[in-house]
Amino acid sequence: MNEFNPTLKGLAAKEEILMPGHRLCAGCGASIVVRQVLKATRGPTILVNATGCLEVATTIYPYTSWAAPWIHSAFENTAATASGVVAAERAFEKKGLGKRSDVIAFAGDGGTYDIGFQALSGALERGEDFLYVLYDNEAYMNTGIQRSGSTPRYAWTTTTPVGPAEMGKLEYKKPIDLIVAAHDIPYAATASPAYWRDLIVKARKGIEVEGPAFLHAISTCDRGWRHDTGETVEIMRLAVETCYFPLFEVENGEFRLTSRSKAIAKRPELKKPVSEFLKLQGRFSHLIKPENADKLEEVQKGVDRYWEKIKKLCGE
C-alpha cells in the first residue's frame, strides 16, 4: 500500500467529481461525505448510487452533477450492481480490452440497513472488490423522514412521533459495523466528515484493499434532524466527541480506534456528555426536557455501554 498523506492544499488541487449546483439541501451532510470520499480516489473510478437523497438530488433528468461514470440502481441492489460492474471490468481486462477501474458504491441507511442489506451481505460474502460507502442520516429522509433500522431509540421521525403514548422510536439502532465486520472482510471503518483526514485516509484504504471494503460515515440531515444548517459539521464532530459515533477501523479482523476516539480512550476526560450532541437537534428536543431526565440518562447509559464495547474490541 502506498503512503497516502493528504493535505488540504493537495486535495484542493484535485478536480471536483460532485459538481456544485445540485439539489441537495443547504447544509447537507451527505454531500460533504461524498466530496471527501472522492478526494481519496487514485485513478479512473466508477460510481454506483442507490436510490436515495443523493441520487435524486444530483441527477434531475436529463442533467447530472457527476463528472465520473455513474450508475443508479434501486434501493435493493446497490451492492449487486457494483458487483456486476466489477465483473464486467474483470472480463474486459481478461480479454485485453482495458484495465479495471476502482468502484465505489454510495448508499444511505435505508438502502443499507434495511432494503439493500441482502445484496450487501451477499457481495461481502462473495468477496467482491469495491468500496461501499454508507452515508447514515438515520432515517428515510428522501421520502419524508420515516424511521429506518438506523434511527436511534427515542428519535422523532414522522412514523415514530413524540406524544403522550410514545416518545419517538422505541427500538435501538442496528449495529451495522459489527454486522459487516462479522463477514470478515478485509476492511471496514466508521468516519465523520468533521475529521476529514481520518475519513479520507480510510476511504483510500478501502479503495486500495483487494476485496470488499465498507465505510460507514455519519451524515447529518438538517431537515430530518431538525438542526440549524450551519451546525452540520459541528454536530458530526459532537457525535464523535460524545462517543455516540466512535471512530474505528477493522483491518483483517483487527479492531483499532482512530483519530479523536483514540484520544478519548487515552484521556477519558475528553468525552463529552451525549446531551451536547442531542440538544442541537429538534428530533431529540423531548429528551432535554426536565420531566424526561430518566430517558436522557438511559440514552447516556446506552452510549456508554456501546463505547465500552467498541473500546474492548479495539483492545483499549
Binding site: 488540504l8 460532485l18 445540485h22 454531500s31 450551519g230
Partner: protein
C-alpha cells in the same frame, strides 16, 4: 434519439438563489487554511492563488463555512 447531457455545474440551476443569508469573506483575516473548502457541502468554495473565493452562483448559504472558520474570517449577512 437518446437524450444525453454532459455533467456540469448547476445541473439544478443557479442554486445560489436559495440563499436567505450569504457568507462574506474577510480576506484580511483569511489564512487560506481551506477548512471552509473541505467542509462546504456544495463545493462552492473556490481556491484561487492565495485566498479562497465563494461561488455565489451555487452557494446555498448554509453557514457551515462561517461556523467552522477558526479565524472568524467568514460572517453570515442577510441576503
Amino acid at each position: 434519439m437518446i437524450p444525453l447531457s454532459e455533467p456540469k455545474e448547476g445541473a439544478s440551476g443557479k442554486t445560489g438563489r436559495w440563499r436567505t443569508e450569504k457568507p462574506v469573506l474577510n480576506k484580511e483575516r483569511c489564512t487560506n487554511c481551506l477548512l471552509c473548502w473541505v467542509y462546504c457541502p456544495e463545493g462552492a468554495i473556490e481556491r484561487t492563488e492565495d485566498k479562497v473565493e465563494i461561488d455565489y452562483d451555487y452557494c446555498k448559504g448554509c453557514g457551515v463555512c462561517a461556523n467552522e472558520c477558526a479565524r472568524k474570517a467568514i460572517v453570515m449577512e442577510d441576503e
